[in-house]
Amino acid sequence: MGTSEQGKIKNKMRRQKLFSALKHEKNKTRHKERATRAKEERANPELKEERLKNNVPATIESKRVFDETVGAEVEGEDDFSSYFDGREPKVLLTTNANARKAAYEFADILMEAIPNVTFVKRKREYTVKDISGYCANRDFTDLVIINEDKKDVNGITFVHLPEGPTFYFSITSLVPGKKIAGHGKATDHIPELILNNFTTRLGQTISRMFQSLYPQKPEFEGRNVVTLHNQRDFIFFRRHRYIFRNEEKVGLQELGPQFTMKLRRVQKGVKEEIEWEHRPDMDKDKRKFYL
């Protein structure tokens, strides 16, 4: 340790000056290098290609822990099979008991984003299991329950009917369409659905659940599209209107809302045995993903 004491510049001002000068020098050389490289590459595009090929940055995604269920085929049938055989989705939307304004506002937003949906005010005397039973008797295919806590929407439950499974997601970063700059007004056309990046077996279950909320009608009108994009186990909900301006350019207008979901729990049946549950220690390894 003795040597480091000797080597240190004791005057702080001088030390800082020296350091900033060093940094400035470095920056300058870097910019110069980049400019010359850009020039060379403009003259010879192959160089750029080669550089990009050799210089693949390491990301959390590329370092993802091996998961044997990625790309695993969906074996046999599951509870969503009836949708893929042609059962029309019919959704009941409700909130937690004793919900406040935020929950109803979010329900309004969701009513626009999910087709064929009915909102029913939640009554305290019926449990989720009761409601699921009543809904199944009335040919509803899904039950969606918004959870509000301390005047904030913080969760959403999806129950596929008649026999489950049940999914619980936490909700963060909710931005209503109105708050988005340059937003458009949503029409009541059935949106198209884009499901991105649901790769594992669990992810496939999730994507099948979202898929079964939207009718299978290939002749889309209204040019609007709902995107559920999964990245590092966060699911981003976005809705846009698109227009093909010419053969190359596509225009996008965001319709909103925006929100982010994170899977917390999957249960068999209507809130029965746990199929998967998020545990805090799952976040320990930053390179391990479940969807």
Binding site: S4, Q6, G7, K8, I9, E77, S81, E273, E275
Partner: protein
């Protein structure tokens, strides 16, 4: 190891052949030798219960079919099928076992079907039916006494029952039907619920699994039983002790779905509807240790020797050592599992040799790693020193 797993999604069962140390989550580790699917019949006809008896695999499916398969056959050929008479559509099989050459299938509503094991190769195996008071969530035979059973269900407390009179032993299916009279109402013991809790509220009754324990103390009219409940209790009954349980402990606040006995009479393995599978001490109700790894509820448990196999909603079959609780094998089978069965626990021969080599390799690897670490550290120190020297020079220049 050969493991059978009843898989829900395709309504089939799968055979997994793997050695010790198999882990499909780690590409570098040993992979299962073979995973093969048999007799796929779809989700609606999935297997609810599955057992192996004398080399014959018996499966009870959700559509009320009882299938017999040959385990010595590579293709698990179907020997015969018996159709159960289900009264309600939603009725499902809760227990399946073989005792004294009789196959018993019990459904939730209490319908008991008995099939003669010796006639299962006939075109139409002999069967008879009777009814016990439902609802039933578990029904088990006494391991040594003929005709004695125990069962229980939702708000249907533990009962010991003489279903078949003793004089009918070995010729239940030989006598004409007139002479055979089953006695589903002849209870030898009926348990009573525990006292109200401290708020003076009734404790709900719902035994989920039963086991006869301490067989050496059993006589013709006294038995000892263990029950686990869907309210997280484990209770032991001694029929000489009275109708209430001798001991009762609350292990968890979640429903206990499965129980398995271990070589230690005071310890049991329980699995709940969450992710916990653990050994508990039944005398104190304390958790002794968990079998770690499961992400979904464990649906099927099977023990064989000192090994325990589990399979559940996370689509993995796991094999653990009961005493050490370490994972011996972990295999992704691609479908939710309702039942597992360890067919044989012998390690594959080639695996044993491999294991030795691997162990040597591991030791060497450790040594190498240690050496590398030392080098790395030295390098870091060297770099630091170099940096220090540089900074001193700069300071002098200024």
């Amino acid at each position: 190891m050969r493991i059978l797993a009843a898989t829900d999604d395709a309504g089939s069962f799968k055979e997994v052949i793997c050695g010790r140390g198999t882990d499909t989550s780690i590409p570098a580790s040993k992979q299962p030798k073979e995973i093969k699917q048999f007799h796929s019949q779809g989700l609606r006809n999935r297997i609810l219960k599955m057992i192996v008896h004398e080399g014959i695999l018996i499966t009870a499916r959700a559509n009320g079919q009882l299938n017999f398969h040959e385990t010595t056959d590579e293709e698990y050929g179907l020997i015969s099928t018996v159709q159960l008479e289900l009264k309600e559509q939603k009725d499902k099989v809760v227990s399946l076992f073989v005792t004294d050459g009789l196959v018993f299938v019990i459904t939730e509503t209490g319908a008991v079907t008995i099939v003669d094991f010796s006639t299962l190769r006939d075109a139409e195996p002999k069967k008879m039916t009777t009814q016990v008071k439902g609802p039933v969530s578990t029904f088990i035979p006494h391991p040594t006494q003929f005709g004695v059973f125990a069962y229980g269900g939702k708000e249907n407390d533990v009962k010991i029952l003489r279903l078949i009179p003793e004089d009918l032993q070995a010729h239940l299916f030989k006598k004409s039907k007139k002479h055979v009279k089953l006695t589903p109402e002849q209870f030898l013991y009926q348990a009573k619920n525990v006292k109200n809790d401290k708020l003076d509220l009734r404790v709900p009754v719902h035994p989920s699994k039963l086991q006869f324990i301490n067989l050496e103390n059993h006589t013709a009219d006294s038995w000892e039983l263990l029950s686990v409940t869907r309210h997280g209790h484990v209770r032991t009954y001694d029929t000489t002790h009275g109708r209430k349980p001798k001991t009762t402990h609350t292990l968890t606040n979640r429903p206990i779905l499965n129980v398995a006995l271990t070589s230690n009479p005071s310890e049991i393995v329980c699995s709940d509807d969450h992710v916990t599978t653990a050994t508990f001490d039944i005398t104190t109700g304390k958790l002794m240790g968990k079998f770690k790894g499961a992400v979904g509820a464990v649906q099927g448990v099977h023990t064989s020797g000192d090994l325990i196999a589990t399979g559940g909603l996370d689509r993995y079959v796991r094999v653990f050592d009961i005493d050490g609780r370490e994972t011996i094998a972990k295999v992704f089978v691609g479908s939710k599992i309702s039942e597992v069965w360890l067919l044989d626990t012998e390690d594959l021969e080639e695996d044993e040799q491999e294991a030795e080599v691997a162990q040597d390799g591991k030791k060497n690897k450790k040594k190498r790693e240690l050496a590398e670490e030392d080098e790395d550290e030295d390098e870091v120190w060297n770099q630091l020193e170099a940096l220090e020297k540089k900074s001193t020079k700069k300071a002098k220049k200024e």
